[in-house]
Symmetry: C2
Subunit: 213 residues, 2 copies
Amino acid sequence: MSKADRTKSRILETAIELFNDRGTKAVTTNHIAAALGISPGNLYYHFRNKEEIIRAIFVQMHEVGVSEYREINDPRGPGNAASMEETFLMIQRFNWRYRFFKRELAALVQSDPELKALFVASHREHLAMVRQAIDASIEQGFFREIPLHLRELLTEQIWLMALFWLNYLEVGGEEVTEATLARGNEILRTMMLPYLSESALRSVMQGSGVHTL
Amino acid sequence: MSKADRTKSRILETAIELFNDRGTKAVTTNHIAAALGISPGNLYYHFRNKEEIIRAIFVQMHEVGVSEYREINDPRGPGNAASMEETFLMIQRFNWRYRFFKRELAALVQSDPELKALFVASHREHLAMVRQAIDASIEQGFFREIPLHLRELLTEQIWLMALFWLNYLEVGGEEVTEATLARGNEILRTMMLPYLSESALRSVMQGSGVHTL
DNA sequence: GTCTATAAGCGGATAGAC
DNA sequence: GTCTATCCGCTTATAGAC
């Protein structure tokens, strides 16, 4: 890793922290440089402008996200309640780490077409991953048979939850805690319940107090 | 309506349009004044600053929203599929009218505690309205009996969809059209399907191609 | 109420030395 | 690579005339 690369990633780290705390609007390139102890000129040597910093953060974020997902989701691994919930929590913790981005997502992609293209591609990839998980769960007998069109709807239903649960908590005035994240998982579980197979239902019933319909 | 009030509401109207088009960050108080054909000084006579304009927009938005909701939702009226979908569409159109606000929601409430307090109150009110609709639907035999805790989860599940569907479309690179709004309704319908009563199920089946489980 | 004029300050960005 | 110095332009906000 070259010296330039090291400075670059220090800039990104600092920027993420400041953005998370105060938002991209309030944090200027000067603030980032000052927090890091480098000069504004130096920062501009590494990045053309603030937008480019944000895009670089997103690229990093996407890579980390996909690799973390693959780590805990062997595509041929068990489609079951525990793994689904673990994945949901992982995504939420991930969103928390880059929380400024999800907070400002709609505004950011509106004002930067290049970032929008990056995000849309990532978004589709994630949808495909969710869809694959659903298909796998059916194949493994964790979910029952589900018509194709319904699988599409289910995919979006799930992904929308994963994408916006943190935002939902924050704008509703709730703290992000283990408890509120767990509530998200409860809702997800509720969404999935109608689609569990007989055998999955039986094994889930033995666990914690899931509500029957 | 006094002259001051008329100018005030013209400022708000213009601000909403500009904010929707370019976002609150890109639109300055000067832009708003210029677009309206008044002087910057005049604008500052009516509002202390941009934040105050945004708060005023939100207050107006909340009032319009609640009154529109009550208009099409007689609390004792029919809890049925048609009215639920009509309500969803109404909310989406409403969100579209003030789309800048939902786009920037998380960032706006983060940087303005006063706005946050207003929004949280409104948010709770909306949750209560959704909850009431669920209870009424059960009472009227449109939904089957649902345990209390599950009703809570269902309330949030529905409200999250209503709140973020437009955002979901936009960040995914989709246009907001009749078709994409209808897809939101389809997802909502899917969420509700497990909770329909026998009689509601029968009447829904006769309608358009709803997917059975 | 509305205007004109303007102060004050900041953010973004670059040039050129080291 | 990094720094210092600096500039332009813009945004906010106010004072004071009408």
